[in-house]
Amino acid sequence: MATDKSSRFDNVDWEAVTADSGRALSTNLLGTLLCVVPLIALLVYDFVALGQYEDTFAFVGIGYDVTQLDWLFALSLILFVFYALLPLYQNPRITRYYWREFKRNRPAVVSLAFLTFVFVVGLLGPIFISQPEIDLVTQYQPPIGMSVQNTYPVQCLGEVTSGASGQLCHGSLAHPLGTDSRGRDILVMLIYGMQVTVKIAFITSLIVITIGTAVGTVAAYSGGMIDEVLMRYVDVQQSFPTFIAYLLILYAYGGGLFLFIVLFGTFAWEGTARYVRSNALTKSEDEFMKSAELTGASTYHIITRHLIPNTASSIITILTLLVPGFILAEAQLAFLGLGDPTAPSWGQLLSTGRDALPYAPWITLMPGFLIFLTILAFNFLGDAVLDALNPEAQAESE
């Protein structure tokens, strides 16, 4: 290098660049393949070798049957690690820049911390904490700091005092957030609900990004009739009221959490597709795209290396608006009693507490506030990501 201040410039390792331009696999793709191939092998093993009700991991002695949802969730986690986290680590300079920009927005930092907490606890919690047990004796235990008339719990685990309106049962450390009408610990149920929420967020994002970018790029690059048909389809999908569509499909086919999540994803990609398409059309006029084309880059290379990284910021912003909508929709369906009764989601817990609302409001309030905080955090995060990744938009709005 000609200059001593090498820290101010990117050191270009030309040998690496030359090696990269061949057909060699990138670290990201290699890592993805290394994880996805065993996953698929396991999936095939589960479907071919094992019966429907046999546990997948029985051969290592873990009594857990992997559901359809878990397969998709694992896939989305792998892609998240190799295509979201790893690139941030590979490009430390730009990561530091994003972080500096992002840090200025304090509510967003708090939101990110909260969502990371939900993610980590939701991912790991159910592995270490066993499922909440039904125990009618301990029903309606109030949380710490609250009290309930002692007629509701069969047996009060905390302190019992006599108040003006009879005996009062106080909360105890055994159930810090109280119990529901069947004696299940609310804290544990909330942690299990976090996992459902994380699954909703990750799988729908995976579906939306995949279909959205695929349709958007195909429409932009093929043009003509294909473009017209795809975009008109997007119009139709956009004018179908989504919640009504879910209700209709649930009515016709019934369905569990797996169907919900796949439906949420497949009915919501139109905004992403539109954005990717219009971005592809405008960006193809830009100098860097033209120069890439002139140096002989293939269309595939241009799309994956230039177009998609350039649309990433807006896709993330779209997702921060979509994902809270899915969480809300799941809660709404569960509240109506049309949700998956086996999925321990926040919405399920909220709806079970509805009848006991006058005397045991915490059963409804705790999951309700968690849903509220999660949606709020996504909104703050979306605002901040928009500002950090897209300095032009910020300059425009000021």
């Binding site: 119009d235 139709v236 956009q238 004018s239 179908f240 009221p241 989504t242 919640f243 009504i244 209700l247 209709l248 499909i249 649930l250 009515y251 016709a252 086919y253 809270p324 809300l328 929709a329 809660a331 709404q332 509240f335 109506l336 009693g337 049309l338 909220l350 509805r354 609302l357 006058p358 409001p361 409804t364 309030l365 309700g368 849903i371 509220f372 949606i375 709020l376 909104n379 703050f380 425009e396 709005s397 000021e398």
Partner: protein
């Protein structure tokens, strides 16, 4: 090739969209097992009759034994001629049931829409005029709160506080009171409040960000220099360009809530409107009502999208129609 041609094309496209959506709905239901047939089969099996025979009889009665193409054409014709069938559980024509539900839905939808259209631009522009002050932060906080809290959850909490604890509002909806009576206003106040806070959040943010762009625009500075009063500047010079993007957001937000959250709000407050009709018919497995109400929501959504596009073009004289 002016505005009229654009509107005509847009209206024609709306017809095509409803046609496609109704066809898809038909396909969905035609491909799924019919709950009435499976009920008949189940009861036949329990009574010791031949289930296969019961299936055939029930299918014949519902007209399911005819070829698919004929069923499709019949269905499409009856949808467009408003012949939406007979409800088994309610013993009335579907159109009548939908009209009944609509009567109650309209009672809270109209005040809700008017309030949102009036309040959200006002708060948004007020917020932009006092940008980054505590007033702006308070308005933004309110907007985020309303946007983030699930409407049905907010409704439950307010019902708990004002209905059960304080006793200010009735807990169950009373259908006997007159539309313009005080009792009706009292029982609808909280549902309308919940829906308004839910829809103001997004629209108010758009109003704020859009009008913030115009506060330092050249034409506003010119108006100030001419000595135009601040009120007139906000009311005429800033409001007009803000309304263009805002109008689309308002229609979009109202539609999204109307076809989603309002259903939950009706269930929470036991308002016998369209949403609760749909919900109840899903539980009772009354296919004709499920179809009728969802078709109604689809029509509303298509008309809403149409209005959204048309308002946008009519409000903004800068848009040229020649290249659309």
């Amino acid at each position: 090739m002016g505005l009229e041609w654009y509107i005509a094309r847009r209206v024609a496209w709306a017809f095509v969209v409803t046609f496609i959506i109704i066809s898809v709905t038909w396909g969905l239901l035609a491909a799924s097992p019919n709950p009435q047939v499976s009920n008949a089969v189940r009861s036949a099996a329990m009574n010791g009759d031949d289930p296969a025979e019961a299936r055939e009889i029930q299918k014949k009665r519902l007209g399911l034994d005819e070829p698919l193409t004929k069923r499709y054409v019949d269905y499409m014709v009856s949808v467009y001629t408003l012949n939406w069938g007979w409800s088994q559980t309610r013993s009335q024509p579907v159109t009548e049931a939908v009209m009944n539900g609509l009567y109650y839905t309209v009672q809270y939808s109209i005040p809700w829409t008017i309030l949102v259209i009036l309040i959200s631009p006002l708060i948004g522009i007020y917020s932009a005029a006092n940008q980054y002050s505590w007033k702006d932060h308070a308005a933004t906080g309110f907007a985020f709160f309303g946007y983030a809290i699930p409407n049905f959850f907010f409704g439950i909490i307010l019902l708990l506080i004002f209905g059960l604890q304080l006793g200010w509002i009735p807990i169950t909806y009373n259908t006997d009171v007159g539309v313009f009576s005080l009792a009706n206003a009292r029982q609808l106040a909280i549902p309308i409040f919940v829906l308004v806070t839910g829809s103001i959040g997004g629209t108010m943010r758009v109003a704020r960000n859009e009008s913030a762009e115009f506060i330092n625009a050249d034409f506003v500075k010119t108006a100030l220099a001419k000595g135009v009063s601040p009120f007139r500047i906000y009311a005429r010079h800033i409001m007009r360009p803000t309304m263009v993007p805002l109008s689309t957001t308002v229609v979009g937000q109202l539609l999204a809530l109307f076809t989603g959250a309002s259903l939950l709000v009706e269930v929470v407050f036991s308002i016998p409107g369209l949403g609760r009709l749909l919900f109840r018919s899903i539980l009772a497995q009354d296919t004709s009502i499920v179809l009728g109400t969802s078709l109604f929501f689809v029509f509303i959504a298509t008309i809403g999208n149409l209005i959204q596009d048309l308002v946008y073009t009519v409000l903004d004289p800068r848009i040229s129609f020649s290249d659309r």
